[in-house]
């Protein structure tokens, strides 16, 4: 039992200067905001890159400024930014930092100084990443998967310098993540307040907790892969480089294995999908429960599903490699393990739906985004069964079906959760309330728009249209209708892009001029809504740490006066 409250045995050192409070801050809430704003800023770069990609795909030849090299650079930087520097950083560095101490009843992370370093090192990794746009040759165009030999050989944009900034940035990011991740895990295990047992924690914390453990185990594979490729590129080693001819010149390399890199990359890359998904699963569970005024259905099953998905996600990585040339007999194992992981994932979907069943559903903006997530996640989860099922994957791999699938399941779905979570916790974070009408407009543009973008991609992919193509050109099996579809998809993408302005306007305007928020506007039972101040002050809980008497889901309990009972309320 983690009931020791170390913080209470020593005085809190409140910052005395403006910079100490907002810049070199060791307060988990300020660090969370720093992480979030940085992630969103770099995410905007990725969003602009996606617009440039859609300009090229929808209207090939119309924008002569976009060369084939540029296009591949947009693809690569968009993918890496979205997966690592936006989603991972925002869900763990942002929401993990903000929510863990508040939800488990701690005054801060257990290592506040390391937590601060984590953010500044993350910021450094972002700076190094973006410096790729300014080095000779521009950023890498090797795809976000960075497969060698092409990532570091002639014919690929950025193979000289862009790949170096990318790999160095990734290595720095792993350092930053490790500092943050150790903090999140240790805080959950050691700093929970009195009465907060593990099985009383909100699912948001469970998702972030398991994702952090997974990150600590998976990111080292990316780290060594990045270091090995840097050595291949700069020191003349041959970890991944076989004997080859590059543009007519025989290389000095020999004996390395390009497939070894793919194994290392996906040993990180597949858990990474769940490092993003599990926090989203946890957060969306809490949004649905609060706004349906009902306990999350099957809480224990939900916890175990998170743990099992986390474990299984380490034995499915090679489903990204069915046509990579690895031993084809691996296909049996990885197809089976991949489809087994669908079972705990399906249970989570059922339990979200059964939470709504016989609930008292308030369709507020955070709930709308949570419901949008359920729809897109069902769609993206099911299309994953096609790609996991080895022989079905063979015709679909490297087509637009893959693009449609992973954008639905790990692009759109977690981002809908992130939007829902921002709307949900915004009143606690800022003490202000956002504009409801603008929030709804933002939801409808985003939710309907993304479906128009990604549904057709699945069918274009079933037809066989390959991905990562600068232009389709004249190809026998591709009819004119595909070009028309690409135009429509691009127009929908521009609308969704423009629609995000509504979100930013709403957030910025409400921060200054929004009405003052109630301390607990949604009537939520979990601990973060029971702070003495809104927004919570440094140390979170005033003089005394809260004491927890119940789980986080006592909604609509028969006989209770209100339709929720806060975790801090003693049994009557």
């Amino acid at each position: 039992m983690a009931t020791t409250i170390a913080d209470d045995l020593r005085p809190m050192h409140h910052p005395k200067t403006w910079a100490g409070k907002y810049v070199w801050s060791q307060d988990h809430k300020v660090i969370a905001i720093q992480y979030s704003l940085t992630a969103i800023a770099v995410g905007l770069v990725a969003l602009v890159l996606s617009v440039l990609m859609r300009l090229q795909l929808g209207f090939p030849g119309a924008y002569s400024g976009i060369t084939p090299e540029n296009y591949l650079q947009y693809v690569s930087m968009h993918g890496m930014i979205m997966v690592v520097y936006l989603l991972t950083a925002l869900l763990l560095g942002g929401f993990g930092n903000y929510l863990i101490p508040l939800m488990v009843g701690a005054r801060d992370m257990v290592f506040p100084f390391v937590n601060m370093l984590s953010y500044w090192i993350y910021l450094l990794s972002v700076v190094v990443l973006l410096s790729g746009f300014f080095v000779p040759g521009g950023p890498t165009g090797a795809g976000w998967t960075l497969y060698p030999p092409q990532a570091i050989s002639e014919g690929t944009p950025g193979h000289q310098w862009g790949i170096v900034t990318m790999l160095v940035s990734l290595a720095i990011f792993v350092v930053a993540f490790t500092m943050g991740g150790l903090n999140y895990v240790t805080t959950v295990l050691q700093a929970r307040t009195r009465g907060m047992t593990l099985m009383r924690m909100p699912l948001s914390v469970w998702g972030i907790f398991i994702a952090s453990i997974m990150g600590l185990l998976a990111f080292p594979a990316l780290f060594v892969a990045a270091v090995m490729m840097l050595l291949d590129h700069l020191a003349g080693t041959s970890f991944f480089m076989p004997a080859m001819q590059s543009m007519g010149q025989t290389s000095q390399t020999m004996g390395g294995s390009p497939i070894l890199f793919q194994h290392l990359f996906w040993f990180f890359g597949h858990p990474e999908v769940y490092i993003v998904a599990l926090p989203a699963f946890g957060i969306v569970s809490d949004l649905i429960s609060v706004h349906a005024r009902k306990n999350i259905f099957g809480y224990r099953m939900m916890v175990w599903a998170i743990v099992i998905i986390g474990g299984l996600s380490f034995v499915v990585w090679a489903h990204h490699m069915y046509v990579s040339g690895m031993n084809p007999y691996f296909g049996y194992f990885f197809a089976t393990s991949t489809l087994i992981i669908a079972i705990p994932t399906a249970i989570k979907v059922y339990n979200w739906l059964l939470t709504l069943w016989r609930g008292d559903i308030h369709l507020r903006v955070p709930m709308l985004f949570a419901l949008g997530f359920i729809f897109t996640f069902i769609h993206g989860g099911l299309s994953g069964l096609f790609l996991g099922n080895v022989s079905v994957d063979v015709p679909l791999s490297d087509t637009f079906f893959v693009v449609g699938h992973f954008h639905m399941v790990m692009g759109v779905s977690p981002i809908l959760v992130i939007f829902g979570a921002i709307y949900h916790w915004y009143p606690k974070i800022t003490g202000r309330m956002w504009n409801d009408a603008l929030g709804k407009i933002h939801f409808w543009i985003t939710f309907l728009g993304v479906y128009v973008i990604y549904l057709p991609m699945h069918y274009i992919g079933i037809l066989g249209v390959p991905r990562r193509y600068y232009a389709l050109g004249e190809t026998g099996f591709i009819p004119q209708s595909v070009h028309t579809a690409n135009e429509m998809i691009s127009i929908a993408a521009f609308v969704v892009f423009a629609g995000q302005a509504v979100f930013f306007y709403n957030m910025i305007h409400s921060y200054f001029w929004g009405p003052k928020a109630e301390p607990n506007p949604w009537g939520a039972a979990s601990l973060e809504w029971q702070t003495p101040e809104t927004p919570p002050g440094h140390g979170n809980w005033g003089a005394h740490l809260p004491i927890v008497y119940r789980w986080a889901y006592d909604y609509s309990v028969p006989g209770a006066a209100r339709d929720f009972i806060p975790q801090t309320e003693p049994p009557s």
Binding site: E69, L72, G141, A142, Y147, P149, Q150, G155, T156, P157, P242, A243, M244, M254, I259, A292, K294, N295, G298, Y299, V323, G325, G331, Y332, A335, T336, I343, Y350, L353, L356, W357, R358, G359, D360, I361, H362, I374, I378, L382, S383, L385, N389, V392, V394, P395, D398, Y451, L455, P456, Y459, I460, L463, P466, R468, Y469, T475, F477, P479, Y555, D563
Partner: protein, 289 residues
């Protein structure tokens, strides 16, 4: 209730899109009906689940929407229901996995009578090699690659002497005969991809990869590269012409054998046998004889 209506509309719209959209698999031109049927079973099961779950979602949103005085039912768990759902999900998963694995079993089992054809990729073009009368490809390695010997065949390997080199990006195959496609790359990753054949596989420098198929329909099909290989990835095209045995033989006899393109007498078979293992891991061992 706009969100419940929207979900119903999206479900109906998705089904309508499925039937009305002009995009579906290209007409099959190889003996991979098993892959197509595994895909059809998967899409049928997934479609049923997609419709059921989303209609349940929309119904719940409408039926249990907030109204004054409404209170949710307190029900933390329901073990029987959760077990039942887990069981039926596992059944559905098994129903998809089984045909997928059966098709995979066929995919990894090369028929004994399959002819061997090599495809070689480089940025950004294709070339091909057929074994000669000995039905075996000679060894090849990067160190042998010269402008006169672009595929890097070992000039001392007698098995390579009769190999037929096709430097053009047009491949011919006889219809109705199984072929093992042996794949080799000179530089970076590529992927031999003909949508109508369904099967595809990466080309990996430093090793030889393969897949097999049996072309079933005469015609001309595009060969695309399906693994990102640099700025010219999208123009790395070729074509494959599937034709009768007779037309194929006529075409093949018009191509040049490796021995005709290089100078020097052919070595004795016995003398050259050790050459078959030289070259280390980078050697492209096309096919054992």
């Amino acid at each position: 209730m706009p969100v419940a209506i929207a979900i119903v509309v999206l479900v109906i719209g998705s089904i309508a899109f499925h039937w009305l959209s002009p995009w579906w698999q290209t007409p099959l031109a190889a003996d991979w009906g098993s892959i197509d049927s595994a895909l059809r079973i998967t899409i049928a099961i997934c479609a049923v689940v997609f419709v059921l779950l989303n209609l349940f979602l929309a119904y719940s949103l409408w039926r249990f929407r907030h109204r004054p005085g409404r209170r949710a039912r307190f029900e933390p768990e329901n073990a029987a229901l959760e077990k039942g759902l887990t069981f039926w999900t596992a059944v559905g998963i098994a129903a998809m996995l089984a045909p997928g694995l059966v098709a995979w079993g066929r995919f990894v089992t090369i028929p004994k009578d399959a002819a061997v054809v090599e495809a070689v990729g480089q940025q950004w073009q294709w070339s091909f090699r057929f074994p000669g009368a000995d039905r075996a490809l000679g060894t090849a390695a990067v160190q042998y690659m010269t402008p006169e010997n672009p595929l890097g065949l070992n000039p001392n390997d007698p098995f390579g002497r009769d190999d037929i080199i096709v430097e053009a990006s047009e491949l011919h195959l006889p219809v109705g005969e199984p072929v093992k496609m042996v794949l080799r790359s000179k530089d970076v990753l590529h992927d031999f991809y003909v949508p109508e054949f369904r099967a595809k596989m990466d080309l990996v420098p430093g090793m030889v990869t393969y897949f097999w198929m049996k072309p079933t329909r005469a015609g001309k099909y595009d060969i695309l590269c399906a693994e990102l290989c640099g700025s010219g990835h999208y123009v790395m095209r070729g074509s494959v012409i599937v034709e009768s045995r007779k037309a194929f033989d006529a075409w093949l006899s018009g191509q040049q054998a490796f021995g005709q393109t290089i100078t020097g007498a052919a070595p004795e078979v016995n003398a050259a046998a050790p050459a078959h293992v030289e070259g280390g891991p980078a050697t492209g061992h096309g096919e054992q004889h």
